[in-house]
Amino acid sequence: MHIAEGFLPPLHAAVWTAVALPFVIAGARRANRLMQDQPQTKLLLAASGAFAFVLSALKLPSVTGSCSHATGAGLGAILFGPSVMALLGTIVLLFQALLLAHGGLTTLGANVFSMAIVGPWVAYGLLRGTQRLHAPLAVSVFLAAMLGDMATYAVTAGQLALAFPDPASGVAGSFIKFIGIFAPTQLPLAVIEGLLTVVIVNLLQQYSQNELRELQAFPQWSAVEIRS
């Protein structure tokens, strides 16, 4: 759910950029250190980033008939961990603005915060939490991807509500209004993305054990691998 270029008033655009920046800088520092320690990490990260972009451009089969896209936030958080995902997500969003005119430069901060920070962190937290409760991996992955997706939409609705409070019922009323607009299209989409992520993780577990071990550069994966 991208907020279009220029849609947010200047103050909001600036504040969201300032909020997102520390997370992105932390992710960039971490990635930079990984790349300096092991030069091959750069190629792995590049392939992952390009994959994330192509995944986000992949049209999903949707029940509502509208063309809809995956956010990939859940899968990214599961594969690479949320801190690296903040950097990769930012790069993907920048590319969507510069190659597809989707989203924008002034709203990049707001979009990064909802899609590359909150979504992956929620997904990652849920994955770790449910794994600790010894839930089956498929259930964990489904919940992480679906609720990570929903968290993204809730944050976007919140950002729009703060920028455009309802004249009668204020920010709260506006939040309910935007959530109401998103819900009919985004709820089924979140479920589909959850199922899709389960299919992907199952496939990777069956056929790519070696490659996943390579991802040990991102220690988060070990949480999933140990349990499987």
Partner: protein, 250 residues
């Protein structure tokens, strides 16, 4: 994606220094956000259209089709700003005049801002813009990473498209559950290929003495201060006209 990238590489302004295009576009974007939308919006739209079509020689049809997608989203989303909901004594929805003004303002502002963005991306390839990030303190490693991602995107996109066609030809998307499974397999296969590709790249580069730095020959083009000054003056004039107009109308 292909259309935008194609024009970015082939337009008349391709060989001009990226700063000559980036700086005016960003300034215009900032002005669009800061000044009253109804006076500056149409001016910005006209200026960016003129610059891309007359200046850079990009067909009007292409510019409009790139603008069409964000415009459709705006048309679908902005009207909701004009609707107000109330929650005391039950739930009621009503039209609000303040909201309508806000909706029109927001729509014009967003459209004008998007036109600044499209003017920039249709005239400047990403590989020219990204190295400028180094000037604002982004580490060289991250800039290289971004450029590598850019190059790999087109390789993977082609694979994804081919894979999808193959699946569709085998009725992989004939129902929603089957479609989900097919899309999942496609994404998983794509990820495996991506990792494989990274390994092969690494092997090839190591054989050529790769130690963490990718050396490429950047194309040098001189920054023309006169052109930059001219375009910045035009941008300044647009800002001035619109604030005078706003004062005159108020």
């Amino acid at each position: 994606m292909q259309a935008i990238d194609h024009h970015a590489w082939t337009n008349r302004w391709r060989n001009r220094h990226p700063v000559e295009k980036l700086l005016p576009a960003l300034t215009l974007l900032a002005l669009t956000l800061a000044l009253p939308p109804l006076t500056i919006g149409p001016l910005v739209l006209a200026a960016t259209l003129l610059a891309t079509v007359r200046g850079a020689g990009i067909p009007l049809k292409t510019v409009l089709s790139v603008l069409a997608a964000p415009a459709a989203f705006l048309l679908a989303g902005a009207p909701f700003l004009a609707i107000s909901v109330r929650f005391h004594d039950g739930f009621s929805v009503q039209f609000s005049p303040d909201g309508l003004r806000l909706a029109v303002d927001t729509m014009v502002r967003a459209l004008a801002a998007t036109s600044c963005l499209t003017a920039l991306i249709l005239t400047t390839p990403l590989t020219d813009l990204v190295p400028l990030l180094r000037r604002v303190g982004v580490p060289t490693g991250i800039v290289e990473l971004i450029l590598l991602i850019y190059r790999l995107i087109f390789v993977f996109a082609e694979r994804a498209l081919t894979g999808r066609q193959a699946q569709a030809a085998r009725l992989g998307y004939s129902s929603v559950p089957r479609g989900i499974r097919s899309a999942g397999w496609l994404a998983g296969a794509l990820f495996q290929r991506a990792l494989e590709r990274a390994q092969r790249l690494e092997l090839g580069l190591t054989a050529r003495g790769y130690a963490g730095e990718l050396r490429v020959l950047p194309s040098e083009c001189a920054l023309s201060w006169s052109r930059l000054a001219l375009s910045m003056t035009l941008v300044g004039l647009i800002g001035l006209t619109s604030s005078l107009l706003a004062r005159g109308l108020a």
